[in-house]
């Protein structure tokens, strides 16, 4: 089972460090104010966008998802009839099971007691964040994210983002200088 280093305490600490306080995530604007950093609000009555943002961070394990990307993803996902239920359900289950001691296990771990729908939705959300393209058999395929798709974080520094980045003439003759 995979253990990962995101815990309730860590999320809370960062949230406070960002000065988000109690009004955090009450509207979209705080996303912009804090420079695009998004952290989970761990209260019970989270508005859907904020819950979606928190869930996205919990699923992708990227706690600095770009605010504009979250808003775009949210808009498309909320069009799915079961999305609100799955977002709430997944969020509650993940947050509920996280503790200082216990790190988030794999999304496939039975510990979560995800329903089939929730499991599918978790994979769907993860896939879309990484690919930037939304696939759903009943809906039109569409690109939601380009440079903010998470695959590009994974390859940062080793491969330019197609169309947007270039390596400079001749740089391709040697391996990239990889910054640690």
């Amino acid at each position: 089972m995979q253990k990962i280093g995101i815990t309730r305490r860590k999320l809370m600490k960062t949230l406070l460090a960002l000065g988000a306080g109690s009004v955090f995530f009450s509207t979209l604007s705080p996303f912009a104010r804090d420079g695009g950093k998004v952290w989970a609000f761990l209260g019970d009555s989270t508005p859907s966008l904020e819950t979606f943002a928190a869930l996205s961070s919990l699923i992708t394990l990227h706690d600095d998802l770009d605010a504009d990307s979250i808003a775009r993803m949210y808009k498309v996902f909320m069009d799915e009839p079961w999305a609100p239920e799955h977002i709430e359900g997944l969020h509650k289950k993940i947050i509920g099971a996280l503790s200082d001691e216990k790190k988030r296990p794999s999304l496939k771990d039975p510990v979560w007691k995800f329903t089939d729908g929730e499991s599918w939705f978790a994979g769907h959300l993860l896939t879309t964040w990484y690919l930037g393209i939304y696939y759903h058999e009943e809906r039109p395929t569409q690109r939601i994210l380009y440079e903010n798709a998470l695959q590009f974080r994974a390859i940062k520094g080793v491969m330019p983002i197609p169309y947007l980045e270039n390596v400079g003439y001749g740089a391709w003759t040697s391996p990239p200088e990889i910054k640690k």
């Binding site: 695959q151 491969m159 330019p160 197609p162 169309y163 390596v167 391709w172």
Partner: protein, 541 residues
């Protein structure tokens, strides 16, 4: 009555590299030229942006696909542009906009080899060109200069009278790792000549290493025919964009008298000239000839041989994807190393030859989706993607195909495309000659994978390379060809055709440099004939 009447010495249909290079050559000789172009003008930055907004992985989705100038779209979800009716499918992509398809080509500017042009005489298969390599050579040099071709003079090449205008693009890091390993197997490599600036040239910058040569070079360091559209306009050539030619009209003598075109607002354009040059690409040119059938020419124009729309061939290839044992960091221009090892030999009597190139691009999207599909998850997902991407290698083979009578297009007048033109039925198949070539290429890729100690992910294909060849073939005999050795229609003395449609064979060389060379040669012939008033004389004969 037509809304607009255009008159010029030469009317060119299509502003791709064939049309633009011919227009430029003619305008330089003082000939009055007008180009009718079906599609709109486009802006590089806007196209780049559109590609970042597209969910498709074709080469075209960033480009216009207008109702008045529709084009193929390589997406099975879309209504197909062609009705594929054969056992194989040629997914030919091309663009319909000012500057044509070189907006999204890969820039490889490869000459034919002398034996490719004499394949029948050399190997007993295929169809010979009506002239030999030596005749085309000076035009190759001219085309290379115009397009700015970089290449290594030390590599083995077909005979050359002039050095490459630009030094070679340096090889990539992955090439440097791969080459020595494969050279031990006896495979030799060279740097593929490319119309890509290895230094600033002709007002365009040096290559910046975006790595998206196809579908678009964001910096413009790679040649695109819009360069010669712009140059032609500066010399006074009139370019009418959004002007789709629907019909070529003949007079009683068999000469072309005018062409009829439509604009998006429904208005008509009539263009009259002394000479007409059809440069609408390897598929739309023969289609327009077939569409222009009339009472006198019931099989279509220029078609007394019955060969318009037939004898289609392509460059079908295979794509081999593998994961190397250690990072090779693929990046840089599309490919900086290729091999001609399997190009020539007596085997070409019975099976197709092939070349192959190693790509400097890792399919990060495919790598990511593959890993996700296999259940990879954060936090190890990021390192898994990175690890896969830095070790990924893609090779593709470029194979020859023999023209086959049954391969080609016919028109279905009962169905219309978005512009109201008849839908094309496209029959495509492979013969034993090509099938044996695929097997040989597969076998080679398997050996290569082993020699590199790599993990073979897939060998996909055959995929065609968007080189629609042969459907208005050149030859001396009017019974077996559509145009003469000067690319002039055997049937209509003032109609010339340029582009891949006229090629009798194409070896394994990508065709665009040859298109440009032929366009220059044809334009020179047209200028000569105009000067001698030979065209007019023919018209009154």
């Amino acid at each position: 009555m037509s809304d607009t009447v255009v008159e010029a010495d030469v009317i060119i249909i299509g502003s791709g590299v064939a049309g633009a290079m011919a227009a430029y050559t003619l305008a330089n000789k003082g000939v009055k030229v007008a180009i009718l172009e079906a599609g709109p003008r486009i802006d590089r930055a806007a196209i780049v942006k559109k590609f970042t907004q597209s969910h498709k992985f074709d080469f075209s989705s960033g480009y216009p696909n207008e109702d008045w100038a529709p084009r193929p779209d390589w997406d099975p979800a879309e209504k197909p542009y062609f009705d594929h009716i054969g056992p194989a499918q040629a997914n030919v992509e091309y663009l319909r906009n000012v500057g044509g398809t070189t907006w999204h080509w890969s820039g490889f500017a490869i000459r034919l080899h002398p034996e490719d042009m004499k394949i029948k005489s050399t190997y007993g298969v295929g169809i010979d060109w009506p002239f030999d390599y030596a005749e085309l050579e000076p035009y190759y040099s001219e085309a290379e200069k115009e397009m700015g071709v970089s290449g290594d003079d030390k590599d083995p090449h077909p005979p050359r009278s002039k050095p490459f205008p630009l030094p070679p693009i340096p090889r990539s890091y992955s090439d440097k790792i791969i080459a020595p390993k494969l050279e031990k197997m006896g495979i030799k490599f060279s740097t593929p000549p490319a119309a890509r600036n290895s230094r600033a040239y002709d007002g365009r910058s040096q290559c910046m290493g975006f790595g998206t040569c196809s579908p678009i070079c964001p910096s413009g360091a790679q040649y695109a025919a819009v360069v010669h559209v712009n140059k032609s306009e500066k010399l006074g050539v009139r370019v009418l964009e959004n002007t789709r030619v629907d019909r070529i009209i003949t007079d009683a003598s068999g000469k072309i008298s005018e062409v009829h075109a439509k604009r998006p607002d429904g208005t008509d354009v009539t263009a009259r000239g002394r000479i007409f040059l059809l440069a609408a690409n390897g598929i739309e040119s023969p289609r327009l000839l077939l569409m222009s059938a009339n009472e006198t020419y019931s099989k279509g124009l220029a078609n007394s041989s019955g060969r318009v729309g037939r004898y289609f061939f392509e460059h079908p290839g295979l794509v081999c994807r593998m994961v190397m044992p250690a990072p090779v960091y693929p990046r840089g221009p599309e490919a900086t190393m290729s091999s001609d090892n399997f190009r020539n030999g007596d085997f070409r009597r019975t099976r197709a030859g092939f070349t192959f190139s190693i790509h400097n691009f890792a399919h990060h999207f495919e790598a990511t989706s593959d890993l996700l599909e296999k259940g990879a998850e954060p936090p190890s997902l990021d390192s898994a993607i990175r690890d896969r991407v830095v070790r990924m290698i893609d090779m593709s083979s470029h194979m020859e195909q023999l023209p086959s009578e049954k391969n080609g297009i016919t028109l279905d007048w009962t169905r219309r495309d978005r512009a109201g033109q008849p839908v094309m039925k496209h029959y495509y198949s492979f013969s034993d000659y090509e099938n044996a070539g695929f097997e040989a290429a597969k076998e080679t890729f398997r050996h290569i994978t082993k020699a590199l100690d790599a993990e073979l992910l897939s060998i996909q294909g055959p995929v065609t390379e968007h080189h629609p060849l042969g459907m208005a073939m050149m030859g001396k005999d009017k019974k077996t060809s559509v145009v003469d050795p000067h690319c002039r229609s055997h049937d209509h003395p003032n109609l010339f055709i340029v582009g891949t449609a006229v090629f009798p064979s194409c070896g394994m060389s990508r065709p665009t440099l040859t298109i440009a060379a032929l366009a220059i040669r044809t334009a020179e012939e047209i200028a000569r004939q105009l000067k001698k008033k030979r065209i007019n004389r023919i018209s009154t004969d």
